[in-house]
Amino acid sequence: MDVTTTEPSSARKNYLNWDHSWQSWLFTLDHKRIGILYLISISAMFFLGAVAISLVRVELATPRGDLVESETYNKLFSAHGIIMVFFFLVPSIPATLGNFLIPLMIGARDLAFPRLNLLSWYLFTIGGGFAMTAFITGGVDTGWYFYTPYSSTYSNNQVALTIIGVFIAGFSSIATGVNFIVTIHKMRAPGLTWFRLPLFIWAHYATSVIIVLGTPVVAITLLLVLLERAFRIGVFDPALGGDPILFQHMFWFYSHPAVYIMILPSMGVISELMAAFTKKRVFGYSFIAFSSIAIALLGFLVWGHHLFTTGQSMYAGMVFSVLSFLVAVPSAIKVFNWTATIYKGQVEFTAPMLYALGFIGLFTIGGLTGLFLAAMAVDIHLHDTYFIVAHFHYIMVGGALFGYLGGLHYWWPKITGRMYPEGWAKLAAGITFVGFNLTFFPQFILGQMGMPRRYHFYPEEWQALNVLSSAGASILGLGYAIPLFYFLWSLRYGKLADANPWRAVGLEWRVPSPPPAHNFDEIPIVVWEAYEFVPEDADEAEQDREAMPGVPAGGHE
């Protein structure tokens, strides 16, 4: 509060340059720095997961198993799944962008519990350490969902290490969720009512609710698997009177909603991007806001669609099938509203917007193919084929990851104070889009022809499509590598960004880039609605802007 921000922007103290010591990073309580720590950790995880799957795709280029043995192959796709789900996608947007932006967007100086926030990063790191140790010392071959009794009875002991890692990472996730819930409830700036909140915040609130309600269930389930390994109590082992389907019920009670943990924050990002690059208020604000909550709650009632081919009762299957169709409704509401936002807007095709448009298309494909799978009869045919693989990659990569990359580009100037090179970024967005579709569209066809997932050899006639897919994967890899280089490059050579390079609205754009350590010199009083681009308010908004010290005036269109 006592920091003045009247010096020239180059010399201005911000959260990055006020202290350069390593202690100031490792013991930081600043949500922005913790966001950066997370960004580094999950990027490392992402590239490790990508390496694992690259080997898988190379193996699948030929119908024979020539590169790796079955067991190694199993370990590779398991490592890919475990890393990408638990150590990349779940924390991806919330722990980086969410951590960084939530206090800035709601006009708070920090999250409610800064120490808890730091603890969550350490837990994440420790959990990651356990998982990595397991992969290095022998590898896990259970797949990312640890089905019993294979995981609890037959598989190697690295399963136990991995489960401990996932368990600890779960606590990190819970810490983030609790922090977000309290922050969003209690730390909003004066005047910032729920319906003036950016949709990014609504999405993160819904995500946090899922985290808090779901994560502990998977934690106890995995703990029971550990106990079963250690003491043979038999909860999930049919030979000992247990029921493996109970494991699947409890595992998917978390893990289906976990899909929404991954996709909801991404949807929040897309809402922000839509508003910023069409310079319009998001169409159907309250529909999008409530659909996030609806997804969070309805998403808990559909997990049984993962059990259609098990001994789950037919009646339960029918109920889960109907509910799975229902959960598509709130997702569709979002897509329609975003589309309506673009309509007659002045769309600026910046790199983040390209990712956002990619999201809408790919998420729609992913969502609609999800409806095929929600239909019980169709699922019997498609279950455990590449159709499933393609479907959830359209959601997880085409949806969650595209949103993450779009958001990262969009807020990069805010986070680092530097612009990324726009030309390269557009190129990377294009390459990613093409590579992604080339990788996964053939898998829809393969799956529909009956190619099962998780085998490293296949009949000759499927080779053409597999080669296409592998070729697409290399292009996709290029699309991921390019941003890594230009982001790092921009840290030093990027054009300096002003406070609001996109001429967007939102409290985070009213503080300097990068923001000062305490975020706001004075807590703003919010008297405007979300996404208020209305021209007649320009003067008033201008005055607000000028009233904020350290923000260059005249940025409003």
Binding site: K186, R188, T193, L213, H249, P524, I525, V526
Partner: protein
């Protein structure tokens, strides 16, 4: 520093400078009630009402004991939550979050058990669901 608009912080102003300190007597009464219910639980387990009723009337209410014991447990838990954990004097937000976990847990029980019941895995109807004779 900045004035908080009442609309943003749902009514935390009301609570801001007062704190509910409960009377000592309230805690003692709750404790005694918990003791009473504890003894009642054990009594219900020892004196098998199901058998007594069956002998007296021929009516066999399956799982009557466990139903009684669980009802008592719910009452005890409610007492602890309301008084010892101060939810009774809590804000609406506290109420919502205090209820959320229990509600969601019941939802999980119901959804998963409905599968087991539909599968016929449950050897007999769940306690108390049916009356025979």
């Amino acid at each position: 520093m900045a004035h908080h608009a009442a609309s943003a912080h749902n009514g935390h102003h009301a609570e801001m400078h007062e704190h509910h300190v409960m009377d000592v007597a309230v805690y003692w009464k709750v404790f005694l009630a918990l003791m009473f219910f504890l003894i009642l639980t054990v009594a219900a387990a020892i004196f098998d009402l199901q058998v007594i009723i069956q002998k007296a009337t021929g009516l066999n209410i399956r799982g009557l004991n466990i139903m009684i014991m669980l009802t008592i447990a719910v009452i005890k838990a409610t007492l602890v939550v309301m008084y010892f954990m101060h939810v009774k004097d809590g804000t609406r937000l506290t109420w919502i979050w205090a209820a959320a976990g229990f509600v969601w847990l019941l939802l999980m029980f119901a959804m998963i058990m409905s599968d087991y019941i539909a599968r016929g895995e449950v050897e007999q109807a769940p306690p108390g669901w049916e009356q025979i004779h």
